[in-house]
Amino acid sequence: MEIPGDLKFAPSHEWVRVEEDGSVTVGISDHAQEQLGDLVFVETPEVDRVCEAEEGIAVVESVKAASDIYAPVAGTIIDANVELAENPELVNSDPYGEGWLFKMQPDQVDDVDNLMDPDDYEAFIDSSE
């Protein structure tokens, strides 16, 4: 299982990457996609939506189950991955790349620091299994 070093992770298995312009890109971890199985439907949030941290703003559905995706920090949605409407399996095949879900502008970019770093996330997964 892959856990890239430059990302931060939420306990609900979203990953967060801080971009150079201060925005963040969000997706779900390799572990999460593996647990869900083949995705067949992804509902991404609308651009300009303002959300609180831990607010449910997207849905991923696999053959097995539907799962909420939560905003990892408070902020505003600035982009969503439209490719996923036609190709939800990108989340399975490339969870940290083409399978990204949405981009947001955090109210405070420092909030990202409160999320788990890769080592902590790995320990978190191990402890919850």
Binding site: G37, D38, V40, F41, E43, V59, E61, V63, K64, A66, A85
Partner: protein, 359 residues
Amino acid sequence: MSKQTPLYKAHQDHAAKLVDFAGYSLPLHYGSQIGEHLAVRESAGMFDVSHMTIIDLQGEVVPWLRYLLTNDVAKLTDGHALYSCMCNEKGGVIDDLIVYRLTADRFRLIVNAATREKDLAWLNLHKPADVDIRQVENTALIAVQGPDAVRLANMAFTRLGQDADLKHMGRHTALEIGKWFVGRTGYTGEDGVEIAVPAAQAVDLWKALVQQGIQPAGLGARDTLRLEAGLSLYGQDLDEEHTPAESGVAFTIDIVDPDRNFIAREVLEEHKLFGGRCRQLGIVLDGRGVLRHGQVVELVGQPIGIVTSGTFSPTRGVSIALVRVNKAFKGGCDVRIRDRLLAAHVTSVPFVPHGQARE
């Protein structure tokens, strides 16, 4: 702690994601549920269904089963199988099962795993003195399914030195080869065989089937395949609160012989002829989303029933469901998914036409 089937180690070696199912540790998938599903539709896949219960009956079985089951075993000749329900006195379904007639006084039932205890209790409660009931244990059951399934399984048999002609078995027939048992039956809507072998030979058979290119497939694909084929699942589509006619399997109620007395005949006959309090329909979701068990079905704002089984259909690329509704309708309806009403419409069942053997 979940029980292990004789194939547990083989699943681990094949990187299966194992889950508890009816008390057994069984593969959910071996990597891709959709890939396994499509392998069965396009060529051949195989499932470890050793959790299912095999019960052998010996003695004066025919008159007893004619009373106990909704379908009529008098139709069976040696080596033939029949799908039936077993109902309580109210006509509610205790279980659905396959009954095989091996010889005139030897029958075999294959029943569900989760219902094993109540099925055995029901059988023993009604058992006449001249019938013996024996649960077959230390046995693996492997279902090989798909257009190439029988041809490839036959090659695996030959490789193992088992002289059998599976290809010329008719649909819904059974064959005993020493301690091996083969039924040309299944639960995917494809051609195929279900093979029962002593536990000690299970891994060798599994490996020989893998060597023929048959894709191991998990419970996930088994569920999407059976639902596409319009086949009911006990505990979801069938239960003790509804008769077979209310659950889409009225065809299992055989009323041809007016003199056959079987459990709950009165209510079952009425429901077969005139319908019950509700009925099963198949629906397709018009837009994106996934229909799932328990979602409420509405018709012009009124709740009329629930989704009993729903999933995403890998073959059709849309979400499909069996629903139990209290009124007949054609055309559109709505389903409440999470907090929204999504449009769906009635379609014919099976959702995907049943397949044939590839020549």
